[in-house]
Amino acid sequence: MARLVVMGGGVSGHTAATFAKKWLGDEHEVVVVTPNSQWNWIPSNIWVGVGQMTKEDVVFPLAPVYEKAGIDYRQAKAVSIHPEGKTDSDTPYITIEYTGQGKEGQTEEITYDYLINATGPKLNFDATPGLGDGKGQLGEHTVSVCTADHAMHANLELQKIFEKAKTQKQKILVGTGHGMCTCQGAAFEYIFNIEHEAKKAGVRDNLEIKWISNESFLGDFGMGGLHMKVGGYVVSSKLFAESLFAERDVPWLIGAHVTKVEAGKIEYELLDGSTGEEEFDFAMLIPPFAGVGLKAYDKNGEDMTDKIFAPNGFMKVDADYTAKPYEEWKASDWPRTYQNPDYKNMFACGIAFAPPHLISKPMKSPNGTPINPTPPRTGMPAGIIGKAVAHSICDMIKEGENAHLHEASMAEMGAACVASAGKGAFDGTAAAMTVYPVVPDFEKYPGTGRDTDYTFGEIGLAGHWIKHILHHMFIYKAKLKPGWTLIPE
């Protein structure tokens, strides 16, 4: 019997663990280690953040699902990896620290035959002074929609602002809280849902709503932009986004790196080197992502974290990490199998793998501050990669360690995204976008690096319905209800 340990129970880890268990059956063991007791459909957190959904609508308990699937569930956080075992044993293992199941604070070693690192990101609030509390958590001056609890808190604060806006002017600031953030889409959805709800609440006239982002142009979405179909016309995402912001009277700041957050005020630096301040009564700023801080040790207990992980804390896989200038970046630099180059029984998927470089053009302010979106690896790509990694490991377990590995390169993978711009059965709006490939391939598609026939978006009520359907469909799938394997990632 082989044991597969999956660190992390988010989109990628949950997908990998559940498919691996289905394919391996009871002959082999699948263990999931995640500090969370609940699974969260993160794309719907923005609706929790405006009071249009409850926390219960976007989460469900993991324990009964894993019990039904026959997966060994440990509510714990992974602390360290020991791929060579220890002095008296060659069996690799990880150390974990429980966060639930009545064992809070207890540590344990779990041996493995195969390991998947799907820990997701650390929400690195402390990267921007004042955005965090100095202990790695969300600070007191802003809110976040990155977790269901954050979103609930955001909604409570937002409702206070709406209440105040009945009698006085209020200012709302939404966007990215650092020059190296990803996930602009979540902030994009949140600002337009706030605007939509403010209109419904009759307080829009007393609200000044402003966007701040590290994108170098509106509509970049961290992907370099795309086409949009709007009202029968094909326009660029830049024009589409500019029109959307202008029509809703939402001014914007782009190319911005937030340098400091204080009570009611942020300081920022722009790509042109200028600096400025922006005041707010309510601010939702997405933090940058980093690795969760896992350590790695060799057989003798010597720290080899640098060997396993990139400096940003994400795990090295089969990518080409050679430092090279922008003009030499290639699609083939990106990983295909997500297998660690040194330890063939270790894989990483979702946000946890280290990308070889950015997707967007690297940009710096004249002061040397890097300001550009970092590569998105959430949602659909995370699920696809998780499934491919599970497939590879299952084949290695069944056919031997030289089994053919399954591939899911982001440079050969398309992705779809639905961004809500307001919730409502008849007045909702969302932009549905597809991109192919996620990572531009400038050799295959000279110029844009993408197949323009498959890289486009469309906005409308139908998009909102699709987002709502996806909400129910993916939670259904994650609960492993009948037919769950038929639903794509």
């Binding site: 170098s216 142009f217 370099g224 932009g225 795309l226 086409h227 709007v230 009202g231 016309y233 094909v234 326009v235 660029s236 995402s237 830049k238 024009l239 700041l253 782009i254 190319g255 722009l270 790509l271 042109d272 080197g273 200028s274 922008y326 003009e327 970046w329 053009k361 940009m363 710096k364 004249p366 531009p440 400038f442 000279p446 110029g447 844009t448 690096g449 323009t452």
Partner: protein
Amino acid sequence: MVQVLKQYPDESINVNAGPVRNFTGSYEQMLEDIIDTMKAHNLDSLSAIEIGYAYQLMVIREHNKYIPYANPRVITQKNPFDSTEKTSYFHNIPIMVKRYQTLSIVYDDRKGNMQTKQINDPEEAATFLRTLDYLFNTTLIDRIPPHQREQAIKALAGKGHMPDTSDAFCPPESKKVYFVSVADKLLFFMFISLLLPLFSISKSTLEGWYTFDKIAFPIVIILMIGFFFYAQYEAKKYKQCSSCQVGNNIGVMVKRVVAASAFAIGAYLFVNPN
């Protein structure tokens, strides 16, 4: 080498241009082609996509020098104004769009080094923004408000005039239509009430409808008075809007007042059960 300039309705320029990543070899050739084409056609600016290169490169003639801007971005823009512009793509037909006078931009220079620049001249800013638009799959037509785009496309086909898109023209959604909409609904039900005596309807039901007629009639009159004054306010705000002209407003008002009066008289004669 001078290249063929793409002109409307050639839609092959409708792609997002990719970033310039290499500043040697084919880049030099592309830049040379753009400048040669500008000289041959005496152009002040040209984007690579206008001669078939899907790259984020544009050249602007400044004091008889041809300055390349690769991967340009507008970081801040202030002071909007209405700009009447002509481009070779649209056969030099003037089109009015909204631009910004004060720009802060970043771009890569001829050697690929990132530079910043401030622009505070309306003509220079409009030229920069217009040329930049092409790099992001945007033409002058796309900058026209959606409700006027059809008219602009017809004008480009030689059918009619180019719409005027400045702020002084018709609003996309006039609020005066709300007055008309409510009045029309009331008039519809007043008309329906006139048909009721043709059927065997009880006296109490007819009394109810007659009461409705007695209330609806003055409301329609009040709505039309409100419409007229609000329309006058909009007519001052949007001076050259044809549907805002006082003759149109009087016509809209008189038609409904006459109809309401006729329906009210009819109701008194035929619906009134007493």
